[in-house]
Symmetry: C2
Subunit: 394 residues, 2 copies
């Protein structure tokens, strides 16, 4: 055999303040290497049951079908569209960032007619535009929006849209990839029919699973399909036989270690308390945003609708966006994200998600960014930034 | 918040001799909890590059597009069909077990016409039947078979079928979920165009990824599609932009910890040497099979075409199949599998895969099974079984 070059595994210690993954709590890290058991082992079945219970609590739902899809957040998105749309259906989709655009692409692949409702990247989708789209069609089967647009930092309000869905008889699907476990998400109270998330953001679990929840009303609509779901892997009728208590009919082999990790990550959320956790994200995100503004930078996302889990901030005129990020990584071992699509080179994306959302990280990233910006010729008022942040942190 | 019941994570120590997952090498277990980094971190990019190199070596291919799909083995299957089939195409599929049937279901969901070529569960697909199916159609775009049928224990010979594919101009797709890293798999030498596997079998990595390899000829065929691939998540054109050296265009967030684990598991395969590893599987599987026969049991799969990674053995008349498995699990902490579909209640499936394929495990499972069968009223000649196995092990 020829010699294959490969290194010993030895990842650097990073402070993960990008758009995800976030840092992993040591308990979750340890869970990943817990002993392997079979996917039909009674022990693993009991962990599956725990996990669905914990997920229901974090999604704030009673939905029986609440489980992690065996893929990343994008697989959760696809599971939603693939099951609930088929040729002949019409969907209205909010598109105000990369993940909204991805939703449109995903939904179109089902053969359904898709009406995108757009807004500038950084702004929310106005309920009026949604209503206009709903009104324009004879029958809209599904309406989907992203609650936390990871590409822009905007936090989409959901209540008005939810009541529009009810009024026009459309299923309401929400992407909570960057909000679940960090922002308020209340599936039942808000009337969300289909909800999915990712594990590597505010849940601080490694990437690889997509928490998913669907209510009985949507499952009833599923039964009215005239064609088979395109994806066998994501076919909810098959998956519900595996994940529902009682049947446990073999579908595919569950990613056991990932589910161990999710179990532990959800336990941490429940132990902290959802409300306390949301407040922590709010406080740290608010402090970071106040700090950045006090330093002389401009926040990108629409005022009043900013995520606390992910802050977008404009790159000052004349500053090399990529170089600053590389310096943060190489000199401080801090990861932050750059802009995507039309925002490429124009913004930074600073995540404070889950285990990464700490007061220390707020101050650290302000100090490091301030220093690097000053060195690059932008007069950042780092002291004012830190002061503004500290006031909100204490 | 209401109180949620959940347990502390504390899995039992199992000897995993079922149809997968197999036991995990301690180095792979430790890799799972290596420090998290971002999916665009230069360090992670270097691990991706290592992983593709190692995968190429294990698949014995030079294929540029060789990477782990972010889902379990079944997602690898779906990636194959979803990309290479569309409405208007015709596929011929070998179906002699559960995974062959799953292939047929998967392929039909693409809208293509599917011609199944069947054989009894436990027997191989005869090349003659394949040729008859190929001849019967004007143009067959793709032919797919399972090399290692996990539901029956049959090992499908591939060379003749490969040359039929060449002759009839069909792409050749092979499922190597239960063979890669345990049986000989030679993607380039055998003329396999599309090949996928799973991580939790002979690679002894946790479940969650599907190693995948596709050659340039198949990628050229991909370009002739007239419709978009139904799955965004599994769209190879998008995935190749992320996994190809150079571009690394963001698609979805890779399951970082799982890729760490795969990196380590592949390193272990390369360190042992593919040939040595295949021989180890052959020796242990052969010893188990000789032992079971010497004990008085009947092997299920066709003679001369038996997997060494997974042995199927008939349940003797009057023996409660499930009870024996439960006793193995509860009294010996050994997991073996039961039969599926038409073989339910009729066979056991005993895996000796990757890190689980050891001489000790062969003797242990023979001893435990022999004792339980004798207690249940079947006169198993355990001593003869152990003797027969030991002769082949030494």
């Amino acid at each position: 055999m020829s010699t294959i070059a490969y290194q010993s595994l030895n990842p650097p210690s990073r402070i993960l303040l990008g758009p995800g993954p976030s840092n992993i709590h040591p308990r979750v890290q340890i869970a990943m290497s817990a002993l392997m058991v079979g996917h039909l082992d009674p022990y693993f079945i009991s962990i599956m049951e725990d996990t669905t219970r914990l997920l229901r609590s974090v999604f704030r739902t009673q939905n029986e079908l609440t489980f992690p899809v065996s893929g990343t957040g994008s697989a959760g998105m696809e599971a939603g569209f693939d099951n609930f749309l088929e040729a002949g259906d019409t969907a209205v989709i909010g598109s105000n960032g990369l993940f909204g655009e991805r939703m449109v692409d995903n939904a179109q692949r089902t053969g359904a007619q898709v009406i995108p409702v757009t807004a500038d990247w950084g702004r929310i989708i106005e309920p009026e535009s949604i209503e206009k789209a709903l009104k324009s069609q004879k029958k809209v089967k599904l309406l989907a929006v992203v609650q936390a647009e990871t590409s822009t930092g905007a936090l989409q309000p959901l209540l008005e849209i939810a009541s529009l869905c009810k009024r026009y008889g459309a299923l309401f699907m929400v992407d909570t990839v960057t909000s679940l476990g960090g922002h308020e998400v209340a599936v039942d109270d808000w009337g969300i029919d289909i909800c999915y998330s990712g594990t590597q953001k505010c849940l601080s679990c490694p990437p690889g699973l997509a928490p998913f929840s669907v209510n009985a009303a949507a499952m009833a609509v599923l039964k009215s399909r005239t064609t088979k779901v395109k994806s066998w892997y994501l076919d909810l009728a098959l998956l519900s036989n595996y994940w529902s208590t009682g049947t446990r009919f073999y579908h595919h082999t569950a990613p056991i270690s990932m589910i161990y990790a999710l179990h532990e990550a959800l336990a941490l959320v429940v132990e902290e308390g959802l409300e306390v956790r949301v407040k922590r994200h709010l406080r740290n995100g608010g402090a970071l945003q106040a700090g950045l503004e006090a330093m002389g930078l401009t926040l990108h996302a629409q005022k009043g609708h900013r995520l606390s889990s992910l802050t977008t901030v404009g790159v000052p005129e004349g500053i090399d966006e990529l170089k600053i990020r590389q310096q943060l990584l190489n000199e401080y071992s801090i990861e932050i994200g750059g802009g995507l699509g039309p925002l490429k080179g124009k913004i930074w994306r600073i995540g404070l998600m889950g285990h990464s959302s700490t007061a220390e990280n707020v101050l650290l990233v302000l100090a490091a960014l301030g220093k690097l910006l000053s060195k690059a010729g932008f007069r950042a008022d780092t002291a004012a930034g830190e002061m503004a942040a500290i006031q909100l942190l204490s």
